[in-house]
Every structure is written in C-alpha cells, then in structure tokens.
C-alpha cells in the first residue's frame, strides 16, 4: 500500500528526477518517511531553503534535467525564492515540492498558514495544486513537463499533508518523453545569411542560452571571421564554455557605459538565444535599452547556427595556440588572483562565478586554461554562488567545481558550506574578501551621488568587524585556509584541487581603486 508521498516520489523518479534538495518541516514528514522506501531518490539536506533552490538551479545547469526541492509551506518557499528568480533567468528547470497543511486545516489559519500560490507564481512559475490525493500523480507529471519546457522553468507542486499521508495509487499515464531542451532547428536562415554577407561589418551576433556551448561559440566565431561581424556573449550566461579550443568571445559588459561602447556603430543585431540587451539598472540620464537607435534586430535559433555556418561557407578556424598565465607573485590584487586561477585551473572544471567586482579580469586570465564551463549570476539576486556549486557538484561528481565567491554575497546562503561538507562535494571555494560591498561603492558613484558621509560609507563596508571566513568554514566542517599573497593562493588552490571534498580559501583581495 503506498501513500501520496510514495506516489509523488515515484512519479518524480519516473520523470527522471532523482535528486531532491530538501529542507523539510512537519508537513513534509511523510515525504521524508517515504524516502526510506525509495533509495533511488537521493535526498540532500540543506540548512536553508535558498541553498536548496540554488542547488537545484546549479544541478539543472550541469545535468540538463531538473532536480526537485522539498520546502516547508509558504515561509519555506519564501526563503527559496531569490534563487528561484536566478533559476528562472537561467531557464533552469526546477520542480519544487512545497508541503502544505492538510486541506481541512487551512480554514483554521494556523500560524504557518499563508498563500503559497502567490509566492510560487512569483518567479513566473507554474503552480500545480492537486484537487485530490488521486490527482497527485498527474500533478507531478504536469510540473515536470512544465519545468522541462523548453524553455526550462520553475514549477511547483503544492503537496497537502493529508494527501501525503493518504493511501494513493499511481494512476498517471506513462510519462511523456521530455521535450528537447531548445527550439528545433530548421527556420529559414537565408535572410540572416544574406544580411551577414552584406552587412557583416556593422552587425553584432549576441549569443545566449544554448548558443554559449563550445559548438555554438565556435560556429559564431567562424561566422564572425567569415563576414566580419562581431560576436558577443550575453552578460550573464547560464552555462558558458571557455578555455582551450573554445573561441574566447567577449561578454557584453555589466556596466552599461562599456556595453554601449561594445555596441556602438552597429546597424544590425542578431540575437542567437539571447534577449535584446538592457541596462541592469537605470541611472539618471542614461538609457535603459542598450541597442543603438535605428538598429535592426534579427533572431536565429542556436540550433540553426551550424546551418548558418554552412550557408556562409565559413571556414574552420585554426587559432594561434595560447598559454595560460604564469603564476604571479606578491600580495594579492584584483589583477593577479585571476592569474592564479587561470594558471592552475584543472581539466573539465566548472567555475561558479559570483566574484562580482573582484572577478572583472577573470575572463582574460582563463581564456587559455583547459576547457571548462562557467555558471554565472543570471538574475542578479546575490547568494547564488555557493548553492549553485552544491548542485553542480551533485550533478557532476567527477568534475572539479570552483566557486569564486564575493564576500558579501557569500553570506546570504553561507550554510551551503555544511552541505558541501556532509556530501563531501569536490568544491574549492575561493572567497574574494575585500571587506566591502565593493559593487555598491562603485554604484553609489554611478547613480550620481556625491555623498560619502559616515552612514553611507558604513552601509557599504563589511569591515568593523572583518569577517573571518576561515573560522566560519571550519564551523561548518569545511577545511579552510587564508591567502594574502599570490604564492599562498597558488599553494592552497593546488592543494585543495589535489584532495577530495570541499575546501575554502579566504583570499584577501583589495577592492578596486
């Protein structure tokens, strides 16, 4: 005899979802109990919901398939929303299972009662609330189908406790095969090919989504070389191939002023899996859209890039061999720490990049490193890096995961370190510790504010007291060390890569300027 919780887990497994990042409470106890009958579902305990949802995002970016989360009623979902926002912007498929009070208990307005639908719909998500226990199986199937897309998205099944504990049967039909993860190839590419032949020199190809893998970047580079068009990658790609053998296509800059320069003078913009670029924030007297006035916008599906290469007869490239940087020496700076990473980056690494201002020079330093992938902060909701690293490591236990993490952003989801320790995930965390919200020091000037009084300075300063990430990591069970010179960082980074399990390096990086 199976319960509703058994059915939910069974349908998740049938739909290819076999990892659940969990932070359960009382209303989820039957789901937890059911996990003991279904060892095929791997449950990973997270100590905060934002870790669970960020891990599901990271898992999906690497595995290409969704993980589940298990969250406790409205407040539990609320704590997970910021990283679901980032997952939405990454088009990551995520299936949340949010436990709810028993259906008949809702009318009593018990302390944890709230409007779960209002929250679950917020990240443009699909919400499925089964009407009866026997509707559970279809509800799970529906959520998985919605999550997988394409495009990938966040889907939430609300699981009332009484449905969880009811006797239930898996009455769903066979699981439909998951859809492909991108749009089909086959559109008419002749007009864009003609455009590129005739206006290549004043055209930019902006690459996003599925076009930022090695094949997409290579195709774009060939087209670029053949017709003189410039290629750029969207500012915050969900998953970007980099390193040896991959054309080091520049990313569109975060700072609108720089992005405007990158796009200056173009007449045509070809969007390949990317959205039309906009400024991250508005600033007094500066434009919100970044596309120059009069530019014509065209679109090409990433799946059609190879056909475009053929249509243009774009020759293969034989790039000049490049070498990673040599190891620098001396006190750590914003310029040399990235050279350490670039020099020592192992094969097949996954870089989770929430280095923010400290990482501005990272792309140049890693262009000639061994082939790797970079996962970025897609939605701007900080606190994404450590959880995404957890999920990436669960998805790819055989790959080294490198989390490059700004100090201020690390603290939103710092308990991710504990999950790394419990699961012995092969993650090397480098905290870029400049004791400041350095990006806000920059932004305070950019918004046109001349103020630098004591209250504003204090609100952007993470010193007084300085935060000791070695101590914090140790407290969560992650071995940690402190680096103040390039030599320290190189030695500690190499050592961390050479040992299994998580490690953290608290790297003292001065802020810019």
């Amino acid at each position: 005899m199976s319960t509703g919780a058994d059915v939910v887990i069974g349908r998740l497994l049938a739909g290819g979802v076999d990892v659940c990042f969990a932070n359960p409470g009382t209303s989820e106890m039957h789901f937890v109990a059911a996990l003991d009958h279904t060892p095929a579902m791997r449950a990973v305990l997270c100590l905060f919901e934002g870790v669970a949802t960020g891990a599901a995002d990271g898992y999906a970016r690497i595995a290409g398939t969704p993980a589940a989360t298990l969250l406790h009623l409205g407040p539990g979902l609320a704590n997970g929303l910021a990283n679901l926002h980032n997952a939405r912007r990454a088009h990551s498929p995520v299936v949340n299972v949010v436990g709810d009070h028993a259906t008949y208990h809702a009318a009593f307005d018990a302390p944890l009662q709230s409007d779960i639908e209002a929250l679950a719909g917020w990240p443009d998500g699909v919400v499925v609330r089964p009407a009866t226990a026997s509707a559970l199986a279809n509800a799970v199937d529906e959520a998985i189908a919605a999550a997988v897309g394409p495009p990938g998205r966040v889907a939430t099944v609300i699981l009332p406790a009484d449905y969880s504990w009811s006797t239930a049967e898996d009455t769903a039909a066979a699981v439909p095969a998951p859809s492909a993860t991108g749009a089909e190839a086959g559109a008419d590419i002749a007009p864009v090919a003609e455009l590129l032949r005739t206006h290549g020199a004043d055209t930019v190809l902006l690459l996003g989504g599925a076009a930022t893998d090695a094949a997409g970047l290579t195709a774009a580079a060939r087209i670029s070389a053949a017709v003189g068009a410039r290629a750029l990658v969207e500012t915050f790609p969900a998953r970007l191939s980099r390193g040896a053998g991959v054309p080091p296509i520049e990313r569109l800059a975060y700072l609108g002023e720089q992005a405007e320069q990158q796009l200056a003078g173009i007449s045509h913009l070809v969007l390949v899996g990317a959205r039309s670029p906009v400024a991250f924030f508005a600033y007094p007297g500066k434009p919100s859209g970044l596309v120059p006035r009069g530019t014509q916008i065209h679109t090409v599906e990433p799946a059609d890039l190879d056909r475009l290469v053929e249509a243009l007869a774009a020759p293969a490239l034989s790039p000049a061999p490049a070498a990673p940087p040599t190891l620098p020496t001396g006190p750590l700076t914003v310029a040399n720490w990235v050279e350490v990473i670039g020099a020592l980056l192992p094969e097949r690494a996954v870089i989770v990049d929430e280095a923010n201002t400290s990482g501005l020079l990272l792309p140049a330093a890693t262009a000639a490193s061994p082939r790797h992938e970079v996962l970025t902060l897609t939605g701007g909701a900080i606190g994404q890096g450590l959880p995404v690293a957890v999920g990436a490591a669960v998805a790819a236990p055989d790959r080294p995961i490198i989390a490059l993490q700004a100090d201020g952003s690390a603290l939103y989801t710092i308990s991710a370190l504990w999950t790394m320790a419990r699961e012995q995930l092969d993650i090397t965390v480098v905290i870029l510790n400049n004791h400041a919200y350095a990006i806000l020091q920059l932004e305070l000037a950019r918004v046109g504010s001349a103020a630098t009084g004591p209250q504003s300075r204090s609100l952007l300063d993470l010193g007084n007291p300085d935060i000791d990430f070695v101590a914090i990591a140790t407290g969560f069970g992650v071995p940690a060390s402190r680096a103040t010179t390039a030599e320290d960082l190189a030695e500690q980074f190499r050592a961390a890569l050479g040992q299994p399990g998580p490690h953290l390096i608290d790297a003292a990086i001065p802020a810019w300027g």
Copy 2:
C-alpha cells in the same frame, strides 16, 4: 534642494520611525546617500534581508513603534518575507522601503525585474506604490499609519529609483498622531462578568496580545482566583511578562495533545486578545481546532480586564514568595540548562526564545527569576530568534538581551551575529546545540510514520559534520565559548552578562529521550 529619498527619510522621521534595518543595493543608493543628510535616522546594516525584517519585528515588540527596513527589489523582499510572516503573526508594525527600478526601466525586464506587489501583499501586508515622486510623502505617511494600526501590521512602500533621485518636496500634511496600539476599553463587560460568576469553574481565560503584559496577567490571575476560572496564555505570545511579581500563568501547549488536556472539560472560553486556539499542524486522526465541542466562546478586550476585576471585586493576590532555582551541576541536560538561566537571569532581561524542543522546561525555571519579558516565535517560520534579538537590543540598549536559540533554526539567519558585533549590542546568545532538527524527530513520530530508515534519519540529523558555533561566531566577530556542563554554562553566562557587547555560548544539550 531635496530628493525623493530625502523626503522619504524625512517623513519616516516625522512619523516617529528613526531606525532603519538595511540591506541595500544599487536601486537604493540615493536612499543610502540621503542618510548622510539625516543623521537622526539610524541605519543598521544587516547582511541578509531576513535579519533586517526580523530585527524590525523585534524592535517593534519592545519599542511599540515601527522600525523601517530598506530592501533591494523583489529578491531582497523575498529574502525578508519569512520574518515578515512572523511579524504579521506578532502584530508588529513594520514599514518596509523596497527599492525598485526606475519607473521607465520596468518595461525593459532587466534581470532583477519582478512583481514586487505580489510579494509585499503576501504577509497580509499593505502595499503602497506612489504614482509620482510628489506622492512619496503621502505614501510614507500612509504606510506608517497602516503599520501602526491597531492592529500592528506589515506595510511596504515601493520606492522607484527615479523617484528617489528626483527633486521632490515634502508636500504631505502634518503627521496624524499614531493610533493607540490596542482597542479602546469600554465594551459592555457585564455578560462576561456574570458568566464568570456563575460558570467560573468550567471557564478558561485565554490571554494574548496586549493582555500578556504584567498588568494583564495580574488582572487575569485575580479573576481566576476569585471565580475559579483557569487562565492560560496563548502558545506563542509576541511579548510576555514573566518573573518575580508576575503571576506565572501557564501557556497553552504547542503539542495539540497537551493543549487538549489543558482545555478538557470546559464549557466557556473567554478570549482576551487571543485567537481561538488551533493545532499548529494537522495530524492524521487528530482535530485541527482545539476547543472542545459545545464550548461557548466569548471575547473581552485586554483594555477591559481591569474593569472586569472591579466588576467581580476580585481581591488582590499576595503570592507566596518564590526563589529562582539554585545552580545545578553536572553535564548539561534539557532539564538543567534552564535552571542555569533561571538562576542567573538579570533584572529587566528580554529573553528571545527560539529554543524549540530544548526550551520546553524554561518557563518553570524562570518563573521566580527577576522580572523579564519573553519574545516568542509567533509565526513558526524558524530563523526568527537572532534577528529579533538584534531589534530588541536596538530598541532597549539598556536592557540585557538573552537569545535562547536552537541550533538548526539559528542557521537561517546566522549573519545576525555580525550585526550584533558591529553595533556592539548587549546580547548573550545561548545556542542549544543538540546536532539535530529534534522537533522533526518528534514530529516524524507524531504524524504516524514508523519509518526510521537511513534517508529520513539523515534529513533530521545536523551531525556529520557537527556544527561548531564557536568557530562561526568568531568568524562573525562575536566572542564565543563552549559549554558542556552546567558549571561551564553558569560561568560563561555570568561572564557574558558582565561584559558589554555580544557573546555566544555553544551549549551541548542532548536531545530529548
């Protein structure tokens, strides 16, 4: 010339809101800059939004007036929601200022764009989005008025960046005097008085809201003694007076089975500022409502309790003098750690109680301690304790704040420790470290699950690795120590109370059973 941000801060100050718990981002930089012109507004930096909102709750519970929070767009508000849910259940007035993109930027769907209203309304909150910059002053006044109530509630002003940076004038009328924080006295109490005279023995007075201060508890105890009615305090009061001179009225139990026993056999229930009691969660085969069938329910405003005392001519009480517990010895247990607190509790302390299962014996141990107040987890969204302690300490810098904090719950908002250190708040944190979600171990059994397989056990276990709160606190700049015996705890607790600023004690308390 003032900006919209200046106007917002000016109106907050005019409305009596002079503390802002802040976690700003780019869209809030003009607000941050404006703080330098308005030193009367105290800005307290929090490193996670749930710390800011929980601190605003704690501030309001002690000060009786709202604090502001400063949050960054939808994701920032999302991170603050769980503690706003608790604030809602505490009827705490809170005024959120949530920065938004410039109005004209919204259409560009920049990465951080989201539906802020959907989130701000979730905790049954009032949302004010000014239509123009010149509407800002009235918007702030409206939010303050809504927050103050009565009853106190969560109100949110959405502050678009372009309004913040626009030239603006304070065009609002004079600030209306804040309403009283409770309903007025003066209802017809004769029927309830008559009921109590004739049916006292089978009546329970359930006290909540404003009735849980010393005056309310004393009045209830007098009535109880005069007519034989039992008095109980709601399970999770927002602010409860306790200790010498205050009748130690029992709280309604968290466990429904116990609560049913407390209410068994009654015919009448008189709600004095409390809601009709319901089970926290639903359980198979157990009722959701806790009031026995056939019970008649009556209500009395807390402000009318004294008139009820008069109407019943209830004599003053002269309780037998009681003494706090003596200091225990030996390894720490769930029974003896509370005796250490009870024995050493200083005058006028504020206990922030998120001890959960470890704290079940706390009330008995502190009944005869010096007069103090207890702030509890009103909404069940864990991660409330450390932030509420921050807010209470800001509101009452002359009172010792004692945060009794379960280990698992501490980790949702652990960076509150840093704000304690920066602001040198006089808070003693005792972590009840049983290396488990012990309440869920209990709940797993209560929901009728017989499962105790490896996955379910693992999801309720916070060991592997054990969490070292001494190291974590040290990392955040809070001096910390570890206690394994009652003697350790007494020595460290006494030392912490004797020194200014925050301290943390990581107390090894075995779980029940």
